[in-house]
Amino acid sequence: MALLRIENLCKNFGGLRALQDITFSVGSGEVLGIIGPNGAGKSTLFNVISGFEKPTSGEVFLGEQDISGLKPSAIARLGVVRTWQENKLVKDETVKQHVVLSCGISKGFQFLGAVFNTSSYGSSRKAMEEKAHSLLESVDLSSLSTSRAGELTHGQQRLLGIAMGLACEPRILMLDEPFTGMNTQEIRFASRVLTRIMDEVKFTLIMIEHNMRLVMGFCKRIIVLDHGIKIAEGSPAEVSANKDVIQAYLGVSKHAGA
């Protein structure tokens, strides 16, 4: 059974139809790639699934539950967690604090425990810090855990974003261009880290990425968006041979066939 089902999803911004009738599903443990030219609606799709935008029509199902229209924080707590295309972080907070923040997702509120610093609060706090530390180890940032997030390189900040997503213990992790802006070396390192994590932790992955080689490497199935419409879906080989996809990326030749 599909873990996540997107059904007839539409999103309009005024007259702009950013997403038109998108339907697809993701199975448990699957790695799905979403590609498309700039402005195709990929990030909008992520925003709608994660609750940051309300869909104009259509539904998003997690298992049997309709999650469209829930608050982003509620959707994240249900296990659908997204990362950001830009490096969103608080530059004066330490790397570790970022991950601890995300570990708090399973923690509830514990107001009185926090105020009176009870021993149960202390131990759960300690557990959070240990979990944060091991996550930072898995993305090779543990040596930088006390550095301020603003001091990291771009590539390290991208990895921190992934570690924050993982700290939420996602059932579905949605990575929005995880390798964007990285140089070749950083990409090689980061993709090795991601592969290792996928071996160690079990979760479903949806990935937006422009780097075709990486998408082909990670994903068994790819969905192609163009102008808010799903134009193709299939294995990397099928998709890269699809005529509509080639047209969307390279444009239509006026002298086609000539």
Binding site: S50, F52, K71, P72, S73, A74, A76, R77, V81, R82, T83, W84, K88, L89, V90, E93, Q97, V100, L101, S102, G104, I105, K107, Q110, F111, A114, V115, F116, N117, Y121, R125, M128, M164, G165, A167, C168
Partner: protein, 308 residues
């Protein structure tokens, strides 16, 4: 060694604060300390709101609510002081929740304007209603609570409240609550994407700040024996913000230092009408030269010495 130093410093500080009224200082000086302590209580609460990225420029309204609630509980309902005191905090917190749920959805200047409007509207409503608020003339003859009377007793009462509110904000700041507040303040969509309910956190911060201001307002009313809408103006709200800016926003000691310095210095210098000028000048100076506030001065000096 370092572990002992901190508790010793805190105990000495506490003993000094307790002995202060016995040191033969004038009632006027103790009065000044009471006002300072009440200002600290309000300011650390407001600082919690600032941590969540919101700016309330109507915070005196909650002191006003606390003062009037407590007064009316005692005078009109004939309740004893303690239920009235805690009731004042609850009423203030409840109104903050009712105001916060719709208004905390907006950010920045929009939220600031809403709080400003709330503060002014509240003041005008109270001024207009002679029954039960006494209109512009306010309410006179607010009795001392049982066992209170001397200036020193109010000093101890305010001291306990201020210390409790500092403890509360400091604990919250170093727990995951403070972490959540800071991330909400700086990058709210990031906080939301890792499962933090930003609305709930903002409402909690707003409510706590209002409760503290309400309790401070209650003490103020009974200590002063007289309240009027003009005590809780926009100028008071802006003063609280000045304390935070001048003191520094980095940790809880900033607002505390700001409240102490900006309450006591103008009195010592006998500024009277030129007080706003003093505040304004100080804010400009701090924004230009001391972005982390005056609590950062020791650090700056230390760094200067190390460079030499």
């Amino acid at each position: 060694m370092k572990n002992i130093r901190k508790p010793i410093a805190i105990s000495i500080g506490l003993i000094l604060l307790v002995l202060l009224p016995k040191a033969g200082i004038s009632n006027y000086t103790i009065h000044l300390f009471i006002i300072t302590l009440l200002n600290i209580t309000c300011t650390v609460g407001l600082w919690l709101i600032v941590e969540t990225g919101q700016l309330s420029i109507g915070h005196a309204a909650f002191m006003c609510i606390g003062a009037y609630a407590s007064t009316l509980f005692v005078l009109k309902l004939g309740l004893p002081f303690w239920p009235s005191f805690f009731g004042a905090g609850l009423v203030s917190g409840f109104i903050a929740v009712c105001l916060g749920i719709p208004s905390l959805r907006v950010k920045g200047a929009y939220f600031a304007i809403l709080t400003f409007g709330f503060g002014e509207a509240l003041r005008l409503i109270i001024s207009a209603l002679v029954n039960p608020f006494g209109g512009v003339n306010g309410i006179v003859g607010i009795p001392n609570p049982k066992g209170f009377g001397s200036v020193a007793s109010y000093y101890y009462f305010s001291l306990v409240l201020a210390l409790l509110s500092i403890y509360l904000t400091k604990r919250l700041h170093s727990s995951h609550w403070g972490l959540n507040f800071r991330f909400i303040g700086h990058e709210d969509s990031l906080a939301e994407s890792v499962g933090i309910d930003i609305m709930w956190h903002k409402v909690i911060a707003f409510m706590l700040a209002a409760i503290l201001a309400g309790l401070a307002g209650s003490i103020f009313a009974h200590y002063h024996h007289y309240i009027a809408p003009d005590f809780f103006t926009f100028y008071e709200s802006v003063s609280f913000i000045s304390f935070i800016i001048v003191g520094g926003t980095g940790n809880v000691w900033g607002p505390i230092t700001g409240a102490i310095v900006l309450t006591i210095v103008p009195e010592v210098l006998e500024l009277k009408e030129s007080r706003p000028l003093f505040y304004g000048g100080l804010i400009m100076a701090v924004v230009m030269f001391l972005q982390n506030g005056i609590v950062d001065i020791p650090n700056l000096i230390q760094r200067k010495i190390r460079w030499r």
